[in-house]
């Protein structure tokens, strides 16, 4: 913290001191930062978060209950809050994890809970702004979203593309290549290239550090060139073959170091997220993404009207309905035909029954006549 310098009037009136005032205010208020991690399970999301902030924010996965939990086949949204302090500067950190994403046989619409969450935060903030009393606002708007790409060595999967498209328009999207220690240097280079090509070709919006600031343009360019960032995460201290103690992963054949720039881009990512661009991430979220959302909503809704909750999986519901209708109609027509035929048979039967009855009565009358004749004959012979 620098002290307010009182300069004699010959040096100006003191406008140049504003940044220092700002610095004091920010230093006192602290920042608050919300980051979301999205990706299939087992890609190192939790480890990365813990490595980034050098503290075990997310507990290690509890495996003992994995058989007990029934698989609802949903993506969940988990919120972890923490307060970090470094050199008396506080950051209120919120981490949003998305367990269950992409883990199932059918992952259609698995991104819906995530996308809805992001929108809901914008919505919540918007509503708070519209309140008469708006001093105390809780702000969970997501400032950065890390998307973890599986290091297949091939290219982005259709699921990745679908999700990234939707995330990119709502939040600062930063793609990372997870578990980069699976790829050899050459493979990694080729893979990153392909990912960049697909992102460009598919029109996926990702976060790019601004280049207009001349001082930091070089640094920003270096960051841009490294996207997607290759990541190795570890919170363990291990000893390298040449005796240093570093954060890394110890294999039989060597140690992959987290903070070694030849091994992975972790330092660049940390720089982007914290050291150099955290405020930019926060301000683009507030100024750009939030404003977009607000504009969209206000164009379609009246002031103060609550948001219409989207039906989940509308497309699915449509298909279901269509199928059900078709099926019911088929059954109905079959049943109708069947009933008709039944009627026909009944009519036939009745007709035949009537014939039978007629025949019966004919027989009866004939029999009666016969009796009469016989009796008459008998009497007749008797009389004669």
């Amino acid at each position: 913290m620098s002290a307010l310098t009182t300069s004699p009037p010959t040096d100006g009136i003191g406008i140049a001191n504003l940044p220092n005032q700002r610095h004091k205010i920010v230093a006192k208020r602290g920042a608050h930062f919300t980051i979301m991690v999205v990706g299939e399970s087992g890609l190192g999301k939790t480890t990365l978060i813990n490595t980034l902030f050098s503290t075990e924010l997310s507990p290690a996965k509890n495996y003992s209950r994995r058989h007990v939990k029934q698989m609802d086949k949903l993506t969940e949204v988990e919120i972890i809050k923490a307060e970090l302090e470094e050199k008396q500067f506080k950051v209120k950190l919120t981490v949003i994890d998305t367990p269950g994403f992409g883990d199932y046989v059918n992952n259609r619409d698995s991104w819906l809970p995530i996308v809805e969450f992001i929108d809901d935060q914008h919505e919540a903030y918007m509503r708070q702004e519209q309140q008469p009393q708006r001093n105390e606002k809780t702000d969970l708007r997501v400032h950065a979203c890390l998307y973890f790409i599986r290091p297949t060595g091939h290219t982005l999967k259709p699921l990745d593309i679908e999700v990234m498209k939707r995330l990119g328009t709502r939040v600062n999207l930063i793609p990372v290549v997870a578990k980069a220690d699976t790829l050899t240097q050459n493979d990694l280079f080729v893979f990153k290239q392909r990912v960049r090509e697909v992102i460009a070709a598919q029109g996926i919006r990702i976060y790019t550090p601004p280049l207009d600031d001349d001082e930091n343009a070089e640094h920003a360019q270096m960051l841009i060139d490294a996207i997607p960032f290759s990541i190795i995460g570890s919170t363990e201290d291990v000893r390298t073959p040449d005796g240093r103690v570093v954060k890394g992963r110890e294999y039989i054949w060597g140690v992959a170091e987290v903070e070694n720039e030849n091994h992975c881009d972790f330092k660049k990512l940390r720089s982007l997220l914290i050291r150099t661009h955290m405020l930019d991430l926060i301000s683009t979220t507030e100024e750009s993404h939030y404003e977009n959302y607000r504009q969209q909503q206000m164009e379609t809704r009246k002031f103060g009207e609550p948001k219409v909750k989207k039906l989940d999986n509308p497309k699915f519901k449509e298909e279901e309905e269509a199928l059900r209708k078709k099926f019911t109609e088929q059954v109905k027509s079959e049943e109708a035909r069947f009933r008709q035929w039944e009627q026909h048979l009944i009519a036939e039967r009745d007709r035949l029954n009537k014939d039978l009855e007629q025949a019966h009565s004919a027989i009866k009358t004939l029999e009666a006549e016969l009796d009469n004749l016989q009796v008459g004959y008998g009497r007749g012979t008797g009389r004669r």
């Binding site: 087992g42 996965k61 495996y63 994995r66 086949k73 883990d103 199932y104 046989v105 059918n106 259609r108 599986r150 290091p151 060595g153 091939h154 290219t155 982005l156 999967k157 259709p158 699921l159 679908e162 578990k179 220690d181 699976t182 050899t184 392909r194 697909v198 460009a200 070709a201 598919q202 992963r249 294999y251 039989i252 054949w253 060597g254 992959a256 170091e257 091994h263 298909e319 279901e320 199928l323 059900r324 099926f327 088929q330 059954v331 069947f338 035929w341 048979l345 036939e348 039967r349 035949l352 039978l356 025949a359 027989i363 004939l366 029999e367 016969l370 004749l373 016989q374 004959y377 004669r384």
Partner: protein, 363 residues
């Protein structure tokens, strides 16, 4: 080593079919090429970036290659399944694999039932299915469990951890342990190198126990070679070290190869032919008698269609019943008519006799 066979095999080569299943990027193709020591399979053709969002669906492609293992010639057919697990909805892919395996059984069943059999008929039954689990380090996912569970009843499933060099030794051990726990919990009958304590000899028992303890096999594959101490070694080169494919401390590749192409080739074949195929055959033939519905996972449209079909059958049955009733009634009516006619005839007879007598008696 159990030798399956006749002298002709030594000239022609033992026939063996394996299928490799796993999502893209789990190391399937590299593994097969490492196993066969040549480029048997092509790596995934990368689509142009504009088309990357299109789902390709699964393709099943068999490829045959001649190998030699321990002096025995093997005619190995590898069935690759690219596209499995890459779609957003992978339900369909499962069915395709099941269908392929069962189709081979159906072919043999049909062939065996022929009066005149084709002497050159090729037996394409799958003797082992290697399923590649991605090295997440956690536990089995729904996809893994579903696949192994559905396929184990009709083929020998051997779970394999692909790209195992992304796990540290500690992580690998814990991962394997959890996978084994999951397999036991869900009762999945994978091929686990069975042995009989009473019948088999010590060495066999020990060998099988060792192999079983290695399950699932952690493999690392490589098509590149590097020179280590003057010798060319198949390996993967990282900035922090070199992973050797054939080093048993680095990967289980050598043990796996030895088992499926060597010591347990015969057992896998026998199990397929004598147990799995026979079970399928029995079930299929008895199903033809009972006309039960197969318990298979259906897509929603198929499910709707099936219900429609069921309803149709129901309706058809009732139609038949009604038709029977109709026939019965017709018969009854005919009978009654006959009776009527008979009575009529009798009456007329009587009448004529009476009138005859009457005319006789009346003067």
């Amino acid at each position: 080593m159990p030798i399956t066979g006749r002298r002709r095999n030594k000239v022609k080569g033992v026939q063996f079919t394996i299928m490799v299943v796993g999502a893209s990027g789990t190391g399937r193709t590299t593994f097969v090429n490492t196993l066969c020591e040549s480029d048997v399979l092509n790596h995934k053709a990368i689509q142009p970036p504009e088309a990357a969002h299109q789902e390709e669906g699964i393709r099943i492609k068999p490829v045959t290659v001649e190998l030699e293992e321990d002096g025995i010639r093997i005619s190995l057919t590898v069935v690759d399944t690219p596209g499995f697990g890459d779609s957003i909805d992978n339900e369909f892919a499962f069915q395709e694999i099941m269908n392929y395996i069962e189709r081979q059984y159906d072919d043999i069943l049909a062939e065996q039932s022929r009066i005149k059999r084709n002497p050159r008929f090729k037996d394409n039954r799958v003797h082992a299915l290697l399923y590649f689990i991605p090295p997440s380090g956690h536990a089995l996912r729904e996809m893994d469990i579903e696949l192994m569970r559905r396929l184990s009843p009709c083929v020998n499933v051997i779970p394999v951890i692909g790209k195992a060099d992304s796990l540290t030794p500690k992580e690998l051990k814990a991962f394997k342990k959890r996978i084994v726990e999951d397999i036991e919990h869900y009762d999945i009958p994978i091929y686990n190198f069975p042995y009989d304590v009473e019948e088999d000899d010590e060495d066999t028992i020990q060998d099988n126990m060792d192999l079983r303890s290695l399950l699932p096999f952690a493999v690392v594959g490589s098509e590149e070679e590097v020179e280590i101490e003057g010798e060319p070694v198949r390996a993967r080169i990282y900035p922090w070290g070199v992973v050797e494919v054939d080093n048993p401390h680095h990967s289980d590749f050598v043990r796996l190869r030895g088992a499926i192409l060597g010591s347990h080739l015969g057992d896998l074949k026998t199990l397929t032919e004598d147990v799995l195929y026979e079970t399928y055959r029995t079930e299929k033939l008895s199903r033809a008698v009972n006309s039960d519905n197969r318990d298979s996972q259906l897509l929603p449209e198929d499910l709707a269609n099936q219900s429609v079909r069921l309803k149709e059958e129901q309706l058809r049955r009732e139609e038949e019943k009604l038709r029977e009733i109709e026939l019965k009634m017709q018969r009854e009516i005919n009978e009654k008519r006959q009776q009527l006619m008979a009575k009529e005839a009798a009456l007329r007879n009587l009448e004529s006799r009476i009138t005859a007598q009457g005319s006789n008696t009346s003067y």
